[in-house]
Symmetry: C2
Subunit: 119 residues, 2 copies
């Protein structure tokens, strides 16, 4: 079936959550949001482009930092309301310069930082 971005289910703001996963290691790097146009740009360019809710603008990941995400494969969930992006991540995915945004774990009832900045 040919892919039609408008066939996905977007929320009341026209957005769909997109999970970025390292294609090689399986590490979950981050979650951000896309609208139909940012998804189109991602597919067309092979560079992951989100929609920034805080800035209300397209967010070509790594545009200013150089920490780009190259799309390896796009996957769609059963309800068509969430995306999984298998990516080739240059450097850190997180703005804190950690590889993943999920660097805080709950252990024995307390928050623990489990990863250091890599750049």
């Amino acid at each position: 079936m040919a892919f039609d971005p408008s066939s996905l289910k977007y929320d009341d703001k026209g957005l769909i959550p997109a999970i970025a996963q390292d294609h090689a290691t399986g590490e979950v790097l981050m979650m951000a949001w896309m609208n139909a146009e940012s998804l189109q740009r991602t597919i067309k360019t092979g560079r992951v482009t989100y929609w920034s809710r805080s800035r209300q603008s397209f967010w070509a990941k790594g545009e200013s930092s150089g920490h780009v995400q190259r799309l390896i494969e796009l996957r769609i969930d059963c309800d068509r309301d969430c995306l999984l992006l298998l990516v080739d991540q240059t450097g850190p995915a997180c703005h804190t310069m950690r590889r993943s945004c999920f660097y805080t774990a709950l252990r024995d009832g307390a928050e623990v930082v489990i990863a250091d900045p890599i750049a």
Copy 2:
């Protein structure tokens, strides 16, 4: 720092997205939503409990199907507005009986089903 669920950022419906990842293989299984109370139940019981947006009720994963998710570790992202759940998944995570909900891939411009039901 002791964990306080109310310190997380919930959306205007009081929900936060939660990504479930197989703790052993790294496979991303599904994404669903939690509110503060479902997160509390998840931590307290060790059984992952979401908030069903369609049914507007708590959704103790596997309650009817037996395909439970045991919480191995909870992780929080840098913005405190997304959760990553490392889980021990019994059987399929998806209601289509596939291990993961992300069984549709975009390849050469077309949607391809890349996984079969396992149960």
